[in-house]
């Protein structure tokens, strides 16, 4: 998997948080889900995924838990913490504002 172009670290964090808000996932599943949900547009390389996950964990936005998967193998499942939810809401709102602003400029037909 190649590095997604133009995807800033902060945006990746937002995506991860949102995915984990819906349901707890382990690292591999996150990558798959992201691909699915974005229609194969967004792909995160394994090299970026785990450092980002661990950083979010260190910052306290997500927490980790070892559980068995459907195949009865042990995997580390991440889920949002309560402060994480608040942070997600804030970041999502920021993103909205940013996206609207950019759209506003890009969609201009006249100056």
């Amino acid at each position: 998997m190649s590095k997604p172009s133009d995807l800033v670290q902060g945006t990746l964090d937002l995506l991860l948080l949102k995915l984990l808000a819906l349901e707890p996932l382990h690292g591999w599943a996150i990558g798959i889900r992201l691909k699915q949900v974005s229609g194969d547009i967004l792909q995160v390389s394994d090299g970026s995924l785990y450092p980002a996950l661990h950083k979010l964990e260190q910052q306290g936005w997500i927490k980790a838990e070892w559980r068995s998967t459907e195949n009865n193998r042990r995997a580390k499942f991440y889920s949002l913490t309560r402060p994480g939810r608040a942070h997600l809401a804030k970041e999502a709102a920021n993103w909205d504002r940013l996206a609207t602003a950019i759209n506003g400029v890009v969609r201009l037909t006249e100056v």
Binding site: W28, S45, H54, G60, H87
Partner: protein, 927 residues
């Protein structure tokens, strides 16, 4: 970091990362493994073979260690991880070069340890406070002729009892004033477990020949005589029993009481509680022991006394009923405690007022001088020659440190060159420059810490040894010196930091410089600069080492010289016999005179006695008076003493001009004899015989400098004798005025006996003689030579020599080690070069010669500079050391320099030769 809400999550994580690192690492690996496996499964599902699937997964995931590192980075405790790794690496490196490590640690601990001990002892001995509660409030009192006069004299700190009473009552700034003096009293009726007559010759001072092994036929005790409020003002309670302030003065006189020191009680009475209430006799006066002072309590003194007596008993002790009312008897030093809120300035003004009121009409007005409490009698800047000695010792200690740092610095420099390859390799493997530098820093820090630890141990050990030496130096009879000293941590920290900065940073800077050049092979330019830096360092190291060892040897020779120092009189064959009458009141003056006359007559016929005279020994002439020649008006202050006609003959002092005193009673009044330098001072270039001068008071008492006015009768000079040395450091008491001693003054002066043969035999004979004449008389006899060895300058010079030669030896060891190590190491580094040269066909002896030349060049430069510095130092030192001329011992300069040169040559020659012996192919591969 927004809010505290996320802390319950972050803190446990941090703790886990810190303390359960292994588990965290394992979990990380497990997580990656899971991901990897799933990736492989996906690959298989897409139709790849198992190998292809695994390869693809590996590519996708990237290098696992890198991933590990990245995740670890996010954990934020990477710093500690790296630190641990650096430390382990540093420890390995240091272990790999044990000689380097050992050399550095040894050098640093010696330098740091010596300096810490020296400065701590300085602070402890000279910056000592009084042994009292809240010593910061205590002050010493003195009365000086005019305000701001530097140089407080012994006369200025001596007060009479009426003085003490005046200051005690009238100065508001003092909350209490105490009086203090020391006595050595004859002890009897004591009994006790251990007799006091242990041999003084066994103590270290005795072994150096520094103490009089004089014979005495009685026991003595050291006594502190103090005012009744002493213990109250100092805030000290008795260990057992009571102190003086529990009794009123009349009570103390009615039933004379004394205190005993705990140390003496332990030593002499084995802590027998029956000593309380026991009656002993001091100088024949019966006193009862009412209390015991605490262990090691010295009060305003330096030494722990055997007994304490109240001042009110002085009239009884000395047999002089008016002792406490006489203004002329001034044996007491005064100390005071400042009242709360009072400053020294206020106290000084208050005391000055009282002092002025007490002066009778004709005396000059006096001013008070107060300085912070110290057991030393005079404020520090009054001790002239002593300060210089101490300063020089401090300097020597400092130079030892500098030599140590120079050692370390040059070793580091040499080593850095050998590590260049290692550094380059690490950089090319991908380590960031910051990381490499951090590792070097860690290594230096580790070395510094190890050295600091070793230094602490060494300091502690050295301190213990020094203290034991000093404390054991005086025999028990003089009281035990109390020195409670622990290595001063502040000083230690200072010295440690200095040596860290100096010694280790020298290795760091070139290393950083080297690492900057990453993979550039063209490091040629910096090598040259580097080499020059290194040579400079080596030269400096050599120069300093030379100066240090030469200075040390000068001190040693100075001490040896002063052992046989020129006194100007016969000291080995003259005995000084001092006698004391026990209860002075029992003997009328006429009886005393008769006894002395009989003693003289009987001693004169002992076989072996050549002459006998009554006079004080030359080094006891402390009294000074003013002298003004009648034809000029300038006043000089000169020492004087009373001597009989045969004094000069007895001591072997030649008469240079004029004549001596006539031995018959028909000596014209008012004749005096001058010493050479006195005559030179009064009438430079002229023959003094026949001149007249006026003298001031000559009553053999202490007088402050303000009282010395030449307003007495006129005297005529009848002769001049050669100078003899007294007790002053700078020889200022060689300027002597000799006055004729009259017959009725004989009993106040000791006897000087010139012997033909062995003085010890005569001493034994006089002992027997004295007991047969009057068994109550107490005599002490020793040769003038032995007494000389007890004088301040001699003791100071000897102790300073002992210390300095220890330092010098240390410095020599350090220096030799350093030179050998550095030069040798530098040559070892050139092994590869040697291999190359041989491979291209150079002759072995040519190579060895080349290396020797290049290695010894900086050494020789350093030696030359060192010789110059040492010559300058010896010029400065000559004033201090008795009889040492400036260029004295030029031979020893050359010896020392040659020794170092030999060591350097040897250090260069051995590895060079070894390098040429080995097969070039091997040396070429040598790193």
């Amino acid at each position: 970091m927004p809010g505290l809400r996320h802390w319950p999550y972050t803190i446990p994580l941090r703790i886990r990362s810190l303390f359960f690192r292994n588990r965290v690492e394992r979990e990380l690996n497990e997580e990656f493994q899971f991901h990897f496996d799933r990736q492989v499964e996906a690959g298989l599902a897409q139709g790849m073979t198992p190998d292809e699937a695994r390869a693809a997964a590996g590519r996708a995931f990237g290098p696992i260690p890198l991933r590990n590192e990245e995740c670890r980075d996010t954990r934020g405790f990477n710093f500690i991880d790296n630190l641990a790794q650096d430390l382990r690496y540093a420890a390995r490196i240091l272990r790999k070069n044990p000689s380097f490590t050992f050399a550095v640690i040894l050098a640093l601990s010696l330098g740091i340890g010596v300096n810490t001990v020296a400065f701590t002892l300085w602070k402890a001995m000279l910056a000592r406070r009084l042994d009292a509660r809240n010593p910061g409030e205590m002050v010493n009192l003195a009365r000086v002729p005019k305000f701001g006069s530097t140089g407080v004299d012994f006369g200025d700190i001596s007060f009479s009892y009426p003085d003490y009473e005046a200051y005690q009552d009238s100065v508001d700034s003092f909350s209490g004033v105490v009086a203090f003096t020391t006595e050595r009293l004859r002890l009897s009726n004591a009994g006790g477990v251990v007799s006091q007559r242990t041999s003084t010759a066994e103590s270290p001072l005795g072994r150096f020949g520094l103490l009089s092994a004089g014979a005495s036929n009685a026991e003595f005790a050291s006594v502190y005589v103090v005012s009744e409020n002493y213990f109250k003002v100092l805030g000290v309670a008795a260990l057992r029993g009571r102190t003086f302030d529990s009794l009123t003065i009349p009570e103390l006189v009615a039933s004379p009481s004394a205190l005993i020191g705990e140390n003496y009680w332990q030593r002499r009475f084995a802590r027998d509680p029956a000593v309380l209430g026991k009656t002993i006799r001091l100088n024949g006066v019966a006193v009862t022991v009412i209390g015991i002072t605490p262990h090691d309590f010295v009060g305003t003194g330096v030494v722990v006394p055997d007994f304490w007596l109240p001042v009110s008993l002085e009239p009884l002790i000395h047999g002089y009923p008016d002792w406490l009312h006489s203004n002329g008897i001034r044996p007491y030093r005064l100390f005071a405690r400042l009242a709360p809120g009072a400053s020294i300035g206020q106290a000084q003004s208050g005391m000055t007022l009282v002092a002025r009121r007490r002066r009778s009409g004709s005396d000059k007005p006096a001013t008070a001088f107060i300085w912070p409490g110290s057991p030393l009698p005079l404020p520090l800047n009054s001790y002239h020659g002593l300060k210089l000695t101490i300063l020089l010792i401090m300097l020597a200690a400092g130079i030892v440190l500098i030599v140590a740092c120079a050692n370390v610095g040059s070793l580091q420099l040499a080593r850095v060159r050998s590590r260049r390859n290692e550094l380059h390799t690490r950089l090319s493997l991908g380590a960031s420059r910051r990381r490499v530098i951090r590792q070097l820093l860690t290594e230096s820090a580790l070395l510094g810490l190890l050295a600091g630890g070793a230094a602490l141990l060494f300091t502690w050990a050295l301190m213990k040894i020094s203290l034991n030496f000093f404390i054991g130096a005086l025999p028990a009879e003089d009281g035990a010196i109390v020195l409670h000293v622990t290595p001063d941590l502040e000083i230690f920290a200072w010295v440690f930091v200095i040596s860290l900065v100096a010694g280790i940073l020298f290795g760091l800077a070139p290393a950083m410089e080297t690492s900057r050049q990453a993979l550039a092979p063209g490091a040629g330019a910096s090598t040259v600069r580097f080499r020059r830096f290194q040579d400079f360092f080596l030269g400096a190291q050599v120069a300093l080492s030379l100066v240090l060892t030469i200075a040390g040897s000068m001190f040693v020779r100075g001490a040896i010289h002063s052992l046989g120092m020129e006194t100007g009189y016969e000291s080995k064959r003259v005995i000084s016999l001092d006698f004391q009458f026990p209860e002075a009141s029992k003997y009328a003056a006429s009886r005393k005179a008769a006894l002395v006359r009989e003693l003289r007559a009987r001693i004169a016929v002992i076989p072996g006695v050549a002459a006998i005279t009554s006079a004080r020994p030359p080094d006891a002439n402390v009294f000074r008076t003013a002298a003004v020649s009648l034809d000029k008006n300038a006043q000089s202050i000169l020492h004087y003493s009373y001597v009989q006609a045969n004094y000069f003959e007895t001591l072997g002092v030649p008469l240079l001009l004029g004549r001596g005193f006539q031995s018959q009673a028909g000596e014209p009044e008012r004749s005096i004899i001058l010493s050479e330098s006195a005559a030179r001072q009064l009438w430079p270039g002229e023959n003094p015989v026949g001149h007249s001068l006026r003298l001031g008071v000559t009553d053999e008492q202490y007088h402050g400098a303000d009282e010395l006015i030449a307003d007495g009768p006129a005297y005529q000079v009848i002769g001049m004798v050669r100078d003899i040395r007294g007790f002053e450091f700078d020889g200022s008491d060689s300027r002597q005025i000799y006055l004729p001693l009259s017959e009725d003054g004989l009993q106040d002066h000791p006897l000087l006996i010139r012997t033909r043969s062995d003085p010890a035999k005569v001493i034994r004979a006089t002992d027997a003689l004295v007991s047969s004449i009057d068994p109550d008389m107490v005599t002490t006899a020793s040769t003038l030579d032995e007494m000389l060895r007890q004088t301040g300058p001699f003791i100071a010079s000897s102790l300073a020599a002992a210390i300095a030669s220890a330092l010098g030896l240390l410095g020599l060891l350090l220096a030799s080690m350093g030179i050998y190590g550095t030069v040798g190491y530098i040559v070892v580094l050139r092994t590869r070069e040697v291999g190359i040269r041989i491979a291209v066909g150079a002759q072995k002896h040519n190579i060895v010669g080349l290396i020797l030349c290049e290695s010894t060049r900086p050494v020789i430069a350093g030696l030359l500079v060192g010789i110059l510095l040492a010559a300058a130092t010896s010029y400065l030192l000559r004033g201090l050391l008795y009889g040492l001329k400036a260029i004295d011992g030029l031979a020893s300069f050359a010896e020392m320099a040659l020794l170092f040169l030999a060591i350097a040559i040897l250090a260069a020659w051995i590895p060079a030769r070894r390098a040429t012996r080995v097969d070039p192919v091997v040396t070429l591969r040598y790193e």
